[in-house]
């Protein structure tokens, strides 16, 4: 009984395997992967647009829950998407193995003889002068010149067999197996790489280490926090170049890279022109204003340094930039909400504020409890424990006094620049694989397999030559080729070979 159950299990496994191996299954899996990706483009993805996902939870919580349960906010990382493409790869492998074996066998083998040439789809015959051996020799040379693989077919001394177009199968195998290499490259690169985002103010520096990113970087499974490279990037200055129309033309960060105390290089990082150092790439990804703000109490410096400001209107630059300074050491605690107009005149006119022209800093001071024990956002104040206290504004180089001996000053306006930082050691493999896909695709689609046979038998003084042919693809084009071969065969016999 036991063997019986085992057998049926084995049989059903085999039938699953057979199904997977079929071309039809590969086709269906391809379509499933395509369909699954559609879902990922219509439902907002957490990785691409976290704000839209958050908005979804806010506006339609129930639907969002359902989506989440189905993995629709992260389609490309979901179990079912993974399942679909893993199955596709298994199906691919199950086709590839026997096909590769078959290809090797057929490449080793000599072309098979054919006895009955008259029965072939393409057939021609002619009587030519000379002996059969000469006719066969001429045919061999002719076929060779046309890039056919020729052989005296086994045990047939009256004929030759020739074939061409194994590039089709080779290309197809190359194209399909390159997908495995592609996957290896993707997984390797993700596993041993990371991506992060960092903001650096002009004059400031960033040391490439886990703790120094704006938010903890996304590190691959095999990349640990202490594997970061530790070099330092100092931002000398940042510049947005504009066209006369006011559209930005270029974003440029001039940086200096240091290893320890040594400057190893200086570079400009722009859009489309990242900096690569020690396997890590830095891409220009954002910018903004960072005014230097100093707050003193009775002459003692409480806070001083550049403060990173953000804007809601980074596309058109017509809105005020927002920033926050928190003063936890003052009793009661004080928080400042700041608004920066880089170019107040442009602001009043409703024009974009592209450059700093007598910038102006407005502030609202709040007093109470900053609630610093709760999770913090550096761009907003948690106002639940605060009450509005004072308001005011200062131009660059000016200072404002608040009650209680507080003094705010705005000595300088700088810019900050943002970089996307990434390491992906698999890129080279992925690129190579993609090029192999392409390299395989072209012969797989455009070459065709065809075979020719020739037989020569004595007939009177001369030789009776028979030519037969078959094409597996592009049959119409083969007809022309076949006719040409037939014509040449007869011509070289009569006139001699072209020199």
């Amino acid at each position: 009984m036991q063997t019986r159950a085992g057998e049926t299990r084995y049989q059903s496994l085999m039938s699953v395997w057979r199904t997977l191996r079929s071309m039809r299954m590969a086709l269906i899996l391809l379509l499933v992967v395509g369909l699954a990706s559609v879902a990922g483009s219509l439902v907002p993805q957490f990785a691409n647009s976290p704000q839209r996902v958050a908005a979804m939870y806010r506006d339609r919580p129930l639907l969002a829950r359902v989506y989440e349960a189905a993995g629709l906010f992260d389609v490309y990382g979901s179990w079912w998407f993974t399942l679909a493409y893993v199955l596709l790869l298994v199906s691919l492998a199950s086709c590839l193995v026997p096909r590769t074996r078959g290809l090797i066998r057929s490449l080793r083998q000599r072309p098979q003889p054919a006895r009955d040439l008259e029965g072939l789809r393409h057939f021609a015959t002619a009587t030519v002068p000379g002996r059969p051996e000469d006719a066969l020799e001429r045919a061999r040379r002719l076929f060779r010149r046309r890039w056919y693989r020729v052989s005296r077919a086994d045990g047939d001394d009256q004929g030759l067999a020739a074939e061409k177009g194994s590039a089709r199968e080779v290309g197809s195998l190359l194209f399909h197996s390159a997908f495995f290499l592609l996957l290896v490259g993707v997984v390797y690169g993700k596993g041993f790489g990371f991506t992060g985002q960092v903001t650096v103010v002009e004059g400031g520096a960033f040391t490439e280490a886990h703790a120094n990113y704006d938010v903890p970087p996304a590190e691959g499974r095999f990349y640990s926090e202490n594997m970061h490279r530790g070099f330092q990037v100092r931002v000398l200055d940042f510049e947005v170049r504009y066209r006369r129309s006011g559209l930005p033309r270029d974003f440029v960060s001039r940086v200096e890279v240091r290893e320890g105390a040594r400057i190893v290089r200086t570079a400009e990082i722009r859009v489309n022109q990242p900096l690569e150092h020690d396997g890590v790439k830095m891409y220009q990804s954002g910018y903004g204003w960072a005014p230097l703000i100093e707050v003193r109490q009775d002459g003692r410096l409480l806070a001083g340094g550049p403060v990173v400001f953000v804007t809601d209107g980074s596309q058109d630059q017509r809105k005020a930039w927002r920033g926050v300074v928190k003063l936890p050491s003052v009793r009661p605690q004080v928080g400042l909400e700041l608004r920066l107009l880089p170019d107040p005149q442009a602001f009043v006119l409703g024009a974009p504020m592209l450059e700093a022209r007598s910038p102006f800093l407005g502030f609202t001071a709040y007093r109470g409890d900053l609630r610093l024990t709760a999770a913090q956002n550096v761009f907003t104040l948690d106002k639940r424990g605060l009450r509005e206290w004072e308001e005011g504004g200062i131009g660059i180089g000016q200072r404002a006094q608040l009650p209680g001996g507080l003094e705010i000053s705005f000595p300088e306006l700088r810019q900050y620049t943002q970089f996307r930082v990434a390491r992906d050691p698999g890129t080279g493999i992925v690129l190579a694989a993609a090029l192999l896909v392409l390299a395989g695709l072209i012969p797989a689609l455009f070459s065709s397999r065809r075979k020719l046979w020739v037989r020569a038998m004595p007939e009177g003084d001369g030789t009776l030559v028979q030519l037969g042919g078959v094409a597996l693809q592009r049959k119409a084009a083969f007809e022309d080729e076949f006719q040409a071969v037939a014509r040449e065969l007869v011509e070289v016999a009569r006139v001699g070979e072209p020199r």
Partner: protein, 312 residues
């Protein structure tokens, strides 16, 4: 001289010439007057020249390559559809389908006018030599897929007709077969190696499309030609994305839909080699592939937010 106005004028002229040529092609399809055909071809070439002039002056007006936004992109796709058709006509000797190809080009150009913008510089993200490589490949691949789609639709129409005729031929014996225009029977294309393949009939009888088998092969050839080009466009896009955005693939909507388009046409090519999927089913997959392509160009640029949206 105002280059923008020259460009727009040439665009309108090209559109007009195409429409007239399209009418001439249809006339020829219906009545097979060879003079009308010659006129149609001449008008088409004239249209291509005007169109080319429009594209080139546009490039000078903007001071950059003339494919930096949707208007320009659609315009060139229209041009390439027409140019591609002229090549197909030369290579395949099938000469009666110009009206349909021109119709597709006219639609692409009409779409272009709806997203017209005055020529201007590119945003910095697009300022890279990859715009030449990636976008040229994407435009070429797209136009070939569009042509392939046109042939596929015609195949579906013709195939349906042939099936009906064949069914009738079975019902009432013999002579009915003679009524089939291009002389083709319903074909299973890649059937046995020894089955004779119909050669394209250059001049089917008036009012008839070429045989379904001919149309099917035309569609296949065009799509197969476009496929590696599209593959290359996606690869070039990935290389560019790696350089501009710091990752070669991020499932941005444009990337997703190019991938879907790629997968669907890959499925089409596979279906052609799969028993039971050849012919109509494969044709339906090609239609779906075209839908994905069109969605990628219009819906993704205009509706779905993503990194590519600025390419409007």
């Amino acid at each position: 001289m105002n280059l923008t106005r020259v460009s727009n004028f040439a665009f309108g002229l090209a559109l007009l010439l195409y429409v007239v040529a399209m009418a001439a092609y249809f006339h020829h399809l219906a009545f097979r007057r060879s003079r009308v055909r010659i006129a149609a071809v001449a008008l088409t070439y004239a249209g291509v020249l005007a169109h080319l002039a429009s594209v080139i002056t546009r490039g000078f007006a903007a001071g950059r390559v003339p494919w930096g936004n949707m208007y320009e992109y659609s315009s060139i796709v229209g041009l390439l559809v027409v140019a591609g058709y002229l090549v197909v006509e030369r290579v395949s000797k099938v000469r009666s389908l110009g009206g349909f190809a021109l119709g597709a080009a006219v639609l692409a150009m009409a779409g272009a006018t709806m997203v017209y913008v005055t020529p201007g510089p590119l945003v910095p993200a697009l300022n890279s030599y990859w715009i030449r490589i990636h976008v040229v490949a994407a435009m070429t691949g797209s136009s070939l897929f569009i042509l392939g789609f046109v042939f596929t639709l015609l195949y579906l129409v013709r195939d349906r007709k042939e099936r009906r005729e064949a069914a009738r031929a079975v019902a009432e014996p013999a002579p009915a077969l003679a009524a089939v225009g291009g002389g083709g029977l319903p074909h299973d294309l890649a059937a046995s190696p020894d089955e004779p393949e119909p050669r394209p009939d250059p001049e089917p009888r008036p009012g008839w499309l070429p045989a379904a088998a001919v149309l099917d092969r035309l569609a296949y050839r065009t799509i197969a030609f476009g496929f590696p080009i599209w593959t290359f466009a996606v690869i070039a896009g990935a290389i560019w994305a790696e350089q501009a955005w710091g990752r070669y693939w991020g499932w941005d909507p444009k990337e997703v839909w190019s991938f879907i388009t790629w997968v669907v046409f890959a499925a089409y090519l596979h279906a052609r080699a799969t028993v039971g999927w050849r012919g109509r089913r494969a044709a339906v997959i090609a239609v779906v592939g075209f839908a994905a392509l069109a969605f990628n160009l219009y819906a993704v640029n205009l509706v779905i937010p993503g990194l590519h949206s600025y390419a409007k």
